[in-house]
């Protein structure tokens, strides 16, 4: 097991190097300049040059990258020239919001997908199944921002049930905090559930044909126990994989949805940093997202072992 984890961590390094280097390159292609942002466009060229030199922006890009990397390897992610906030503090401040959003989104997606998948599998081929499966395919074509607009229109504008934007810290008012996540989480979940439902449905249909399900019936078990204990667990391997892979997509989606719903998460931090050309914050935040992404895939691999004992015992 230790070897497995070690190998995984080694594999993390090249990914992180590639991602941060790419961000550096892309960011340097953006027009505009942090010095101008900070000094205002009335500043004299001399003053701008001086500030650029102070921030190290006059160095060639590869040098800047190596310097940044050197600092990161020494545990220093840097601080924003603009706000003086350290990257660590900025990320730590925003991360809980993004995590809460993603967890709520994934949980919502699973809460929609699992019961529907079971329903479809049990009644496979029925009108209900055909309708839901059709829905699951159709849904894929609606992009999240469209869904967001529809949800805002329906629940915030027309029905006035939920806030469209804004965020209240959990510690201040837990209910209001959760309410502010409902629409953004639902937006993401609506994009996520169809694929989860489809993989679980088809695995579940296959599982229900297995001899051990007939055996479970022959033991006198109730349908609910057969479905939830005997069928769901062996059917959820692909679901876990797809959930894992989708968390990657979810991270991307969450960044966008945060901006639409004005949630102060990593997404807003990134977008703010891009607008301000605040590269230190941008790099730091991207590094965190990338680490998060790789860690998710790592956890998914571990979950496999839990779900399928054959993998755990190296007999897959």
């Amino acid at each position: 097991m230790a070897k497995f984890i070690g190998r995984r961590l080694l594999y993390l390094l090249p990914v992180l190097l590639a991602v941060t280097l790419l961000t550096f390159l892309i960011a340097s292609l953006l027009p505009g300049d942090l010095a101008i942002t900070l000094l205002g466009d009335q500043a004299t060229p001399e003053k701008v040059e001086a500030l650029r030199a102070q921030m190290g922006l006059d160095l060639p890009i590869w040098q800047r990258y190596l310097l940044w990397l050197w600092d990161v390897l020494h545990g220093d992610l840097g601080r924003s020239f603009r706000t003086g906030e350290t990257v660590l503090a900025a990320v730590a401040d925003r991360l809980p919001v993004s995590l809460e959003l993603m967890v709520m989104a994934e949980v919502t997606a699973l809460l929609i997908a699992i019961p529907l998948a079971i329903l479809c599998a049990v009644k496979s081929g029925s009108a209900t199944d055909r309708f839901l499966t059709g829905l699951a395919f159709g849904k894929l074509s609606l992009p999240p921002f469209m869904v967001a607009i529809l949800l805002i229109y329906l629940f915030a504008v027309s029905l006035n049930l939920l806030p469209a934007t804004g965020w209240i810290p959990f510690a201040e008012d837990p209910i209001a905090n959760l309410r502010s996540f409902v629409l953004p989480a639902l937006t993401l979940a609506i994009a996520e559930w169809p694929v989860l439902m489809r993989v679980l449905r088809s695995d579940m249909i296959a599982t229900l044909q297995e001899d051990y399900i007939a055996m479970a019936k022959a033991k006198g078990l109730r349908p609910a126990r057969i479905l939830l204990v005997h069928a769901l667990k062996p059917s959820s391997l692909t679901l876990v994989t797809v959930t894992g892979i989708n968390i990657g997509r979810l991270i991307g989606g969450a960044l966008i949805v945060e901006v639409i719903f004005a949630l102060p998460g990593i997404g807003r931090l990134l977008v703010g940093a891009i607008y301000a050309r605040d590269f230190i914050i941008l790099q730091g935040a991207v590094l965190f997202v990338a680490v998060g992404f790789v860690m998710v895939n790592f956890v998914v691999d571990m979950l496999y072992a839990v779900l399928d004992p054959r993998i755990r015992h190296g007999r897959a």
Binding site: Y212, M215, K217, A218, K219, L221, K233, P234
Partner: protein, 327 residues
């Protein structure tokens, strides 16, 4: 005969398929006395498994359906029970052992959970006690170290060991009847005898009756009290094991016996397979289903179906010429 434990009366089970209506079990009747072992034999596709599954109402519907008949168990018609009623019978009063030990245990659940489950369910035993009982059962089927095996998974067991687990699971609630559907067909020949001997020993010990389904008449001679021979979805001959084995009164049974090695001497006898194919259950002939393969068939056989009649005491045969065969 004492009051039967199980009495199957005129059971007919059909499947609606693309090829038409398959009469998998057609007007089948038999009894099982308490503690008795009844063997059901016949070639593959003769309706043995469907008969077994019908008893516990495990026929997948659609495409299958029990069309008619009665299945009286301890005096109650199982076909008239509601869902909760039949669930209370399954795994408790009547237990099932399937043919494929490799695929009949859930790969994702521990052996302990699977063996303890019927006890927890039917005896309302708390899980910790049910697991103790499961460990004890594993000991009974000679899986050493039962306690520490509870947390293992089926893939860690060989085929023979898995079938032992299935037997432990079947015995969990001391059922009155165990239905074993070809319990050893999927196993190594060397393991087959061990498993059958174990099964027989434990059912006798628990005083359970057993329906032992097999296509191997050799097995029957050794373990069964009575035998029902199935052909084309019907019972064509049924008798106590010894007379059936000594003097079969149906050409199909004779053919079966000639095609398997016999346990009692006569080892030099050449094996003669029955020629031709088993009948298509979707389009059975009007007369005797065996007529196309039967050496003794006459014009009458093709025209009229022979009924199952008592040819000798407790010895029934569905052949027009059963008396001639007795001679």
């Amino acid at each position: 005969m004492t009051q039967p434990l199980l009495s199957v009366r005129n059971l007919s089970t059909r499947f609606r398929t693309d090829r038409g209506l398959v009469r998998a079990v057609d007007d089948v009747s038999f009894d099982v006395a308490p503690g008795e072992t009844l063997a059901i034999v016949g070639e593959s596709g003769s309706g043995k498994s469907v008969t077994a599954l019908s008893i516990l109402r495990l026929i997948p519907d659609p495409p299958g359906k029990i069309e008619s008949g009665e299945i009286l168990f301890e005096g109650k018609d199982l076909l008239k029970l509601d869902d909760a009623g039949i669930r209370a019978i399954r795994g408790d009063r009547i237990a099932m052992i399937f043919q494929e030990p490799m695929s009949s245990l859930n790969p994702a659940l521990t052996v302990g959970l699977q063996v303890g489950e019927p006890i927890n369910l039917h005896r309302k035993t708390v899980w910790s006690k049910a697991l103790d009982k499961a460990a004890e059962l594993l000991g009974k089927v000679r899986i050493p170290d039962g306690k520490s095996r509870l947390n293992s998974y089926p893939h860690q067991y060989s085929g023979g060991m898995r079938q032992r687990v299935m037997i432990a699971m079947a015995l969990a609630c001391q059922p009155k009847l165990i239905i074993a559907d070809e319990p050893t067909t999927a196993l190594d020949v060397t393991v087959q005898a061990q498993i059958l001997a174990l099964l027989k020993e434990l059912t006798r010990e628990a005083n359970s009756a057993m329906i032992l389904i097999t296509h191997d008449l050799g097995v029957v001679a050794r373990y069964a009290d009575r035998v029902a021979v199935m052909y084309g979805g019907r019972i064509v001959e049924t008798a106590p094991a010894r007379p059936l084995y000594k003097s079969p009164r149906h050409p199909y049974t004779r053919g079966l016996m000639a095609s398997v090695p016999r346990l009692d001497g006569d080892t030099g006898r050449p094996l003669v397979p029955i020629e031709g194919q088993p009948p298509d259950l979707a389009s059975l002939p009007a007369g005797c289903a065996f007529a196309l393969r039967c050496k003794d068939a006459t014009e009458r056989c093709h025209r009229e179906r022979p009924p199952l009649v008592e040819s000798a005491r407790h010895h029934f045969s569905a052949c027009w010429y059963h008396e001639r065969l007795a001679a």
